[in-house]
Symmetry: C2
Subunit: 406 residues, 2 copies
């Protein structure tokens, strides 16, 4: 017997027929003799509609009341799934965020889970009853309704799995797992059987949007084994686990890319202390995230060129901010390019293996692809290249690192 | 300064624009220096949609889970109205049924209110803040969500007004008050300034569907002055009050009618003790309500004819039930007529005035209208007539009792 938390997203519970389909997936785990709790999102589209109502009434709706409104979508689906389960003979009951409770801090619309009451669910499990719990919602210590922000249901599920000390947290979604690369581009991409939390975090923040980052972080912290799998196809998914659970670790687990990049270069910036702070301070104040940064070696000893990337949607605003403070900064001019892509090679194995970056540069060079910016972390090497080369680069790297399917 | 509970129905909060309109009506009461709490229904159509989801999943959805689902509509509107009020400068916050709490019994989907916690709302009022409260929903002592059944929001509002000891409970709806007769039929019908609870109860159960019966009963019990008025037109409504608040009581306050009637006659029923019980017992068992009953004087001393009315939708089933038990009952045959209407004259004044029924019979006779069945209560006289005469009868009676507008 295992204890399992299953989580189904908005598409999976999008209408009564799909909710019935979810119920059969829950029943299967119950029939295997497992103890099951289920976390559900709102029906696809519901949350957006509710948010639309609040925005129609105010440009800046009170976050407390916003939460009262948008948390209702999940209350609908917990009741409906409980009904669907009962109708196929599976004992079930719903628990709202305030009933359990799912305790959060008071940062409305972006609350963080502080604890999950498990007494009721454990009692349900002991009686063979399935507890159906809403994702996304919680309650403060003084009894106000909160929500976790977009995608928070993954986090709810992992937090519940941690609190219940569950053997596994199954996240059902519209993809069937995590791949070595985007299969729409790299036809030889393989589904990974396992991936580490760290690699998953790098993938998530780099554009392989399968699992919410906060959910992965929570899984890593509490050692929750997370499985990503398909709601619609009946195949095993990908397990996200601790590094020591992966026996034969490959050096590189995947190649990812992000098109949401734009490159900005400040030419002939005075090469003196404090200039970086003077540039990046105003950008941070303007809520613009800067990602890769590279500063050239100064040629004349007096000025240097500074290149960095921002997300594509922020490029115009970033240039405005920089031009506004241009006089103080004293650079000569700004060059910008939105037609760039960030390609990354990810793998915890590179901690103990040299030559990973070298193979990347060599491979790209052989294909005649120019590297514009490089950045590295412990388990990843990223390069910025011209967007036109995206597919070529991904396929070449996938082959070079031995990831191609047979 | 007065303390007022305002209640707005589903049509009044049907979309963000209408919610804004509701907010201005609340603001007006606040600007007059009044303490205000507001009760709202779900957006028109929402509850039906939610009920539809539960029915799509089960013929007999668990009432506990049904309540979890259908109670969400009101949670949406309390949050939205709070946002709308704040956006026009009126301090406001929402309170769900479980937050206050609105305590009910455990009869899910048809719960009865047992008490309303007022501490939070009184604190809001003391600070000049408007409390926005959901109609229809409550919570049991063990923390499960309940709903009051269709139309329960009126009851929620009156219960809250009673608990707050409010000066008035304003029920905003899509009619602008209670009339002496249906204005679509009787063009000279007048809007009543005041009406007693008793008259309102008789009107409500007779088809003038303005206020939910349970809400009127609760108002009567707790002496809550209820005003029925329009959400869309800015005119005074009708006050529903204790009899002693009406200084110059007219003998008759209104003429109502109900088309939802069907007449059934059992011919040549044996005239002996126990036969009525033998007839009406099976109907009651079949959940068929019998309204007016008349038994003719026996001609031959051995058999009699028995006539009664049921609601039109129950007629066929009632006949089936009676035919099934026909052999035991021993009547000769069944005659039935769905083309009948019940017309009633209502007024607390008739307690102290004779001749009210006589004037009714005389007036109908003068117009050549045959009375098929008569029934009376302390404050009402009802007759069953052929449906074709409905309009003629209503207009003639309206004039005869001196109710016509100038």
């Amino acid at each position: 017997m295992a204890r399992i938390v299953q989580k189904f997203g908005g598409t999976s519970v999008g209408d009564p027929d799909r909710i019935r389909n979810v119920a059969t997936k829950v029943k299967r785990e119950v029939d295997r003799g497992n103890q099951v709790a289920v976390v559900v999102s709102a029906m696809a589209g519901t949350t957006d509609q509710l948010i639309g109502y609040t925005r129609a009434l105010s440009d800046r709706p009170d976050p407390c009341e916003y939460d009262v409104v948008v948390s209702t979508g999940e209350q609908v689906t917990i009741g409906l799934l409980a009904i669907a389960l009962q109708s196929i003979g599976v004992p079930a009951r719903s628990w709202t965020g305030w009933q359990l409770p799912v305790r959060t801090d008071g940062v409305h619309a972006k609350a963080r889970i502080e604890g999950v009451g498990t007494e009721a669910i454990l009692a349900d499990m002991a009686q063979g009853r399935v507890a159906v719990v809403p994702g996304f919602q919680g309650v403060t210590d003084d009894g106000r309704v909160t929500t976790l922000g977009r995608g928070g249901s993954d986090t709810s599920a992992v937090a519940l799995a941690a609190a219940l000390n569950a053997d596994r947290c199954d996240i059902y979604t519209d993809v069937d797992g995590v791949y070595t690369a985007d299969p729409r581009i790299v036809s030889k991409a393989r589904k990974l059987e396992r991936i580490t939390y760290e690699e998953m975090l790098e993938s998530a923040s780099l554009g392989a949007k399968v699992l919410q980052t906060r959910a992965v972080e929570m899984g890593m912290k509490h050692h929750v084994r997370i499985q990503v799998l398909s709601s619609f196809e009946d195949v095993p998914g990908t397990l996200v686990v601790d590094e020591d659970e992966i026996v034969e670790q490959e050096i590189v687990s995947g190649i990812t890319y992000s098109r949401d990049e734009a490159k900005i270069t400040l030419l002939k910036v005075p090469d003196q202390p404090g200039v970086a702070a003077a540039i990046f301070g105003p950008l941070a104040d303007g809520n613009i995230n800067v990602d890769m940064i590279v500063q050239n070696v100064s040629e004349d000893g007096a000025t240097t060129d500074l290149t960095f990337t921002v997300s594509r949607g922020d490029m115009a605003r970033a240039i405005e901010v920089l031009e506004a403070s241009g006089r103080t900064l004293g650079f000569e001019r700004i060059a910008s390019d939105p037609n760039v892509v960030k390609v990354s090679v990810i793998g915890v194995g590179m901690r103990s293996h040299a030559g990973v970056a070298k193979l990347m540069f060599q491979t790209l060079s052989e294909k005649g692809i120019n590297i514009q910016v490089i950045s590295t972390s412990e388990i990843k090497v990223s390069v910025l290249i011209a967007e036109d080369y995206t597919e070529l680069a991904l396929r070449a790297l996938h082959t070079a690192y031995g990831l191609d399917a047979d």
